[in-house]
Subunit: 420 residues, 2 copies
């Protein structure tokens, strides 16, 4: 290391999207390496709406590794962070910043401690795959800082060891996580099926559902399913392989009917396996069920799917509409049944708010004037307060380096999170 020791802080900042699986990952064949029992396929969400931003800094002045999430210091001792840190450090390369007079040799990275600050632009606790975005961003940004040259496939394999589904956040658009066959997990990587421009009329609406129940973490939930569900292995070995092939076809051909049918069926089957677990796991609640009924009845009355739904390890609905017109129409139905608790429309739909205009919903008066949807045949009842808020989004791109140092989360002089 050159430059006066302790005089410098070297940083990199990255932003990585979250993703939502349309063919679900549920069950590990190796707990330590996080190797799944089946392939999965996801869509990457627009990082403007749902992403993690992470700044990673190194300095000879740091006495230990430290991490802050959303401004609060958290432990880095967990095996998941340590795995990623170890794997990236292993691949670190010589680095030189002539301007700063910093030169770090490959073998020197091991002696430098890191400071990591990460921030999610969406609620961490809302069950929206925040750990996927966070771990992927951690790996991506650390790799940039340490001048790692490995391809994205290998980065995805490292991110996988942090949080399984994180490997799919290494790409934009449509992504497949291949389960792989090798014992060391080196072939359990993500590949991009198509980028975010391939099918860009899809609109994604997320209903963040209010929940009083404490949820089972996906880590312990999938462990319980592997140990106790008689249906899980049949799903993984017999049902999913066929669905993966069909889903790849549907994505390739932008065949919304197949895409929607497969997405809904696979979400339901994942939750079926949760129910088949002992003790049973319930991630969906009555509100989730009502949203599914709304979609199913509308799709049935139209004769062809307009909207697909998928639910992860929580009650929130991720709704994928065929196009903007369908999304606007569907939003009217959603807001008819689930009006905002506090009558404040502007904070009730976040993300791409322009969808409200498309739906003709400019104020609460417009929401109150919505007619009862004739085609959904739900008893004429409203469920105010059962949805906390909606996020309108779309498909998005993969991880990016944030070059503007003003957006870094760590102060380049103190090496500590800004504003802490």
């Amino acid at each position: 290391m050159a430059a006066a020791e302790g005089q410098w802080v070297l940083m990199a900042t990255g932003r990585t999207p979250t993703n939502i699986a349309v063919i679900k990952y549920w069950g590990k064949r190796d707990e330590a390496l996080i190797l799944p029992i089946n392939d999965s396929i996801s869509v990457t969400l627009d990082p403007d709406h749902l992403s993690a931003t992470t700044t990673v800094a190194v300095s000879p002045s740091f006495p230990s590794d430290r991490m802050w999430l959303n401004g609060k210091e958290i432990s880095l001792l967990g095996g998941r962070f340590q795995s990623c840190l170890r794997e990236i450090r292993k691949r670190a390369r010589d680095f030189e910043d002539k301007e700063k007079g910093v030169k770090i040799k490959k073998e020197d990275w091991d002696k430098l401690h890191v400071h990591i600050a990460s921030y999610n632009n969406f609620p961490t606790a809302a069950g929206l795959a925040s750990s996927a975005a966070g771990l992927a961003c951690f790996v991506f940004t650390l790799g940039k800082l340490m001048n790692v040259k490995e391809d994205y496939g290998e980065l995805s394999s490292i991110a996988r060891q942090g949080s399984g589904s994180a490997c799919r956040s290494i790409y934009g658009g449509f992504v497949k996580w291949c389960m792989g066959e090798k014992d060391d997990g080196s072939d359990s990587i993500a590949v991009q099926l198509a980028d975010e421009t391939h099918w860009n009329d899809l609109v994604i609406i997320i209903a963040v559902v209010s929940s009083k129940q404490k949820e089972t973490s996906s880590t312990s939930g999938m462990r319980d399913s592997v140990e106790t569900s008689p249906l899980l292995q049949y799903r993984a070995q017999t049902v999913v392989p066929g669905r993966v092939l069909k889903m790849e076809e549907a994505i390739k051909n932008r065949d919304f009917e197949s895409f929607a049918k497969l997405t809904c069926a696979d979400s339901n089957q994942f939750h079926a396996v949760c129910l088949d677990t002992s003790p049973p796991i319930f991630y969906m609640n009555d509100t989730s069920h009502r949203i599914i009924s709304l979609v199913e009845k509308w799709n049935h009355s139209e004769g062809t799917p307009q909207v697909a739904y998928t639910f992860d390890a929580g009650p929130n609905a991720v709704l994928i509409a065929q196009n903007r017109k369908t999304a606007a129409h569907f939003l009217q139905k959603l807001l008819y049944y689930f009006p905002p608790q506090d009558n404040d429309l502007s904070s009730y739909l976040v993300g791409d708010k322009s969808i409200l205009g498309d739906a003709g919903l400019h104020s609460m008066k417009d929401v109150e004037a919505l007619p009862a949807p004739p085609d959904t045949k739900i008893p004429d009842q409203k469920f105010k307060g059962d949805v906390s808020y909606f996020i309108c989004s779309r498909l998005g791109a993969g991880p990016k380096v944030v070059v503007d140092e003003g957006q870094a989360l760590i102060d380049s002089v103190t090496g500590l999170p800004k504003g802490v």
Copy 2:
């Protein structure tokens, strides 16, 4: 036929219990004959609490077949009643009542029309297998009237053609419905595994759960599952056969731990298959889930199952406690979380009300004074109004002839339902 034609009404009255499956029947291999895709096992409930009473009458003066359910005339044209009527008439024998001067030859039964009046001593719409009790009672009583001598196995096969699970209501105690192999369904019959005295310390508490949702009928639900659930055939062919053997062992040995684990797992798997159906079927709601959590947490904290739960095609919980002490203890927990909406304890628990005394619950004051159960770790929240009422029952005997003519539902002179 002897006696002046039209001058006589011949009647029989029977009472038949309802039953609840602990290994579930879900899916037919033959819709017309009602042949299932797997064996199932049930417990018969005490007819004092949950049964159908049916009076069947014939008279040369009846111009057509007619039926009344709970005092209201209903159509007998449905294939299910017609199948049972046809099969019993086929087996009718010579009959003579010397006192009344009535003599009916085997071949004459075909010319006589029937009047049938049936009554359930529990709410028909509550999803408590009222059709099972009703159809079994129809077949049993009609058989008595027409002097049918066939054994109970054959009667069960006829009841099966009325409503699948009705075949299990032909016996008391523990009953197995063998799916059979023959195309004509003649070996798809119920057999008794043990009578109601074999394991008589079991206590059954039914929570009738309030529901706003219209439910999918089990007939159309299981048809949809057969057509669309990828998991159903695997369950029927691979999972259930092993469970049936283990359940028979558990019943034989009065092994409550095995019995409870199998019962809960099979209920959950049946609902998992419903979720795996397209469109998905939700029979359980948030209240059902809360009751399951309560049981699971208590069983976990005790280290061994105290209570088993099972849910049919609706949100009601059927809870089977190991003995009266456990049932009383569990009732305290249930009433802590689900107190009566209108503060009226006496109408909130029906059936065997003496369990309230065992639980030390003599008035609403006692209910209000219940301490929060420490071992169940549900957030300290109550769900008043989410349970409509409880029924406390036990295992019961099979169908019986009601000899007291005062209890007949049809007037022996007019041939019409009493009080109509």
